[in-house]
């Protein structure tokens, strides 16, 4: 009976949500056909400040955000404060895992020859790909979060492929702490140089070039390093057997 009532409630909620979403969201039109007054249009056109101009890849210069990836423009420039919040969420989650599991006993895995050899070859490549993804976050799909996660996966593979993982995780903590602190300091630099927290104070260059989009690549490098070290720390903490009364 309890399950039937739950199922009924879920179905009612699902019905209301689908009707509400169907009325509210326009899935069937391209952004340019949407209501001109929606603020997302200004994000797409890279034209919040109203300085305007056409967007041409490899040609447009000194745009307000300057990132060829619209999502990156929104996540790391227009709404960078939310991203700071999100990396804080991850930081807290890692802290929580560390507090709960950190005191446990590390388990050792026994891995086979194939895994060991493959891990040695593949892990560095994964690490490199992760770094590539977060350094190119303003040009291609990707960015700090996926790039960092890929670095952590390399760490996981390395852990699976080696009998002994160094128990000294100090360097990871240092990277995590420094990257987080530098993100805040970058934001504060914006406050002192340009007038508001997390505001871009570097030239945005040419659309599509590696060195462009102001502080966005710097922020994404920091986010990538922070996410990578944090998720690696979580992996290391989860490798411990929990000791809970």
């Amino acid at each position: 009976m309890k399950k039937l009532v739950s199922l009924f409630l879920i179905l009612v909620l699902a019905f209301f949500l689908t009707t509400a979403l169907d009325q509210g969201l326009d899935f069937w039109h391209s952004p340019s056909q949407l209501d001109a007054f929606r603020m997302s249009n200004a994000f797409v056109q890279n034209d919040v400040l109203g300085e305007g101009g056409a967007l041409v890849f490899g040609e447009s210069k000194n745009l307000e955000s300057g990132s060829a990836n619209i999502v990156t423009s929104i996540v790391v420039d227009y709404r960078s404060f939310d991203t700071l919040g999100e990396i804080t969420v991850l930081f807290l989650s890692a802290l929580g895992v560390g507090l709960l599991m950190g005191s446990g006993v590390r388990t050792t895995l026994r891995s086979g020859f194939i895994l060991k050899t493959a891990a040695k070859m593949v892990a560095p490549l994964m690490l490199l790909t992760g770094i590539y993804i977060f350094t190119h976050g303003h040009l291609t799909p990707g960015g700090g979060f996926p790039g960092g996660s890929m670095m952590a996966t390399a760490f996981l593979l390395h852990y699976f492929g080696s009998d002994t993982v160094k128990s000294n995780l100090k360097p990871l903590k240092w990277i995590e702490s420094t990257a987080g602190a530098l993100y805040i300091l970058l934001g504060l630099a914006g406050l002192f140089v340009a007038g508001s927290f997390l505001q871009n104070f570097l030239p945005t260059g040419t659309l599509g070039h590696l060195v462009s989009a102001g502080i966005i690549p710097l922020v994404y490098v920091l986010v990538g390093l922070k996410v990578g070290s944090e998720v690696s720390g979580i992996v290391a903490d989860f490798s411990k057997t929990e000791v809970v009364s």
Binding site: L21, G24, L25, A42, S93, G190, S196
Partner: protein, 475 residues
Amino acid sequence: MMGSIIWLIALPLLAAFVSVVAQTYQYGLLVVTLLMNLLVLFAAPQGLTIIGGYEPPFGISLLFDQYALIALLLIQVLLLLIIVLARPLAKNYTPVILVMLAGLNGMLLTNDLFNLFVMIEIVSIAAFILSTANGKLTHTFHYLILATVSGVFFLLGTVLVYAYTGILVVQGLMMRLASLPVALSLIPMMLLIFGMAVELKLVPVSSWAKNIYGQANLLTGPIFAAVLAPAFGFVFGRMMNEVIVLHSLTGYTLLVMAISTFVLGELAAYRQTDLLKTLAFSSIGQSGLAVMMFTLGAPWAGILLLINNALAKSILYGVATGVTAAYGNASMGVLKGVFYHHRLLGVAFSLASLSLVGIPLFLGFFAKVSAVMAIFSTGLIWVPVIILLTAIVEGAYVMRWLLQLWSPAFEGYLASKKELPQKRNVFSAQQILVVGVLAVILFTMGLMPQRFVDALQKTQPAMAQYEMVGQGEQQ
């Protein structure tokens, strides 16, 4: 630059990131951060602070007005006193407390609905981690599941609000939402309300609170009851003032939830024989009362109730968890006559509980009179009747506890003959001083509530739309 309100969020976050590698100085960092935050609060000019260089509605902004100032001041002062009171416990959780502080300040300052969700998420996760200090992981898990599901509701509500209005700016969002057809705005409003219901401890999703509050220790008890609860109350007040459009369905749902939380919470508190459980249910009940005030359009009464409840609960939880830890149990049988040994703590506890009930001469009296007066003016006569009847229940259990805790009857007789029970060490002199400071703040506010309210109102452009309740009678 140095006086920008953004420091209230940037500073605790920076300290949190640094504290992970500077473990020796963690606690000092926390204290210094809180003191600096107090300085910033007094130095920062009120108004809208833009982040990232984009003005609203495009970028995120922070709204620092009188309402935010009251809430932020309360949170920083109480948190500072609590971490001094529970220093050994706080030392284990310093980075978490620092991030929670950044989240709380962000939650109270932000002028963007999605950013509010992010901040609520930060504070909730910090609260989950802190609640593990109680040592009951199943309780934490229960709280985590409830709060996460409600977080999803809040996020869906935000998505729908954005889909319908095209903006996320909190200030003035209500105007846009009110212009929508009721059929459209109903669902997002319901989702936003249910998204906050868990943290506001509203029936039927308040079950987590009796476990987390009822098993609290010297750190978690005061933090949950005196920092997190008022913070979420203040956020709800802001939402009611700027975002949530009440239709007859949403309005009555919220009112029924708030009234049943108040009545059931206080009745359940009456039935408890465990001091911490009594305080837990009392916190649930008081949260219902504050929500009721904001729902019925009496924000000033809501603010006063939140402040009174926060100050009173910080003392009540501080003393209650202290004596529970020292005597091993929070049941009435064990704690009977405990204040015979600890008179200073007893006086502070009594002051706080009398203010909680709303005895004349205390801040609680002023808060409750404001509440009842405000509701009379709305024409809902039966609501004040419920409040007054429930206040009698509240008075009854508080008096019963005070009598039991002070009663020197049999224990006093035994103690005077130096037989039983042994006096145990509850607090150090420093901790007693902190409880004393809290009691003095509460008592002083109760002695001159009008002066206190005037001081709060003095520089208040953004509070202009708030009507001061009971103004005619008091001045």
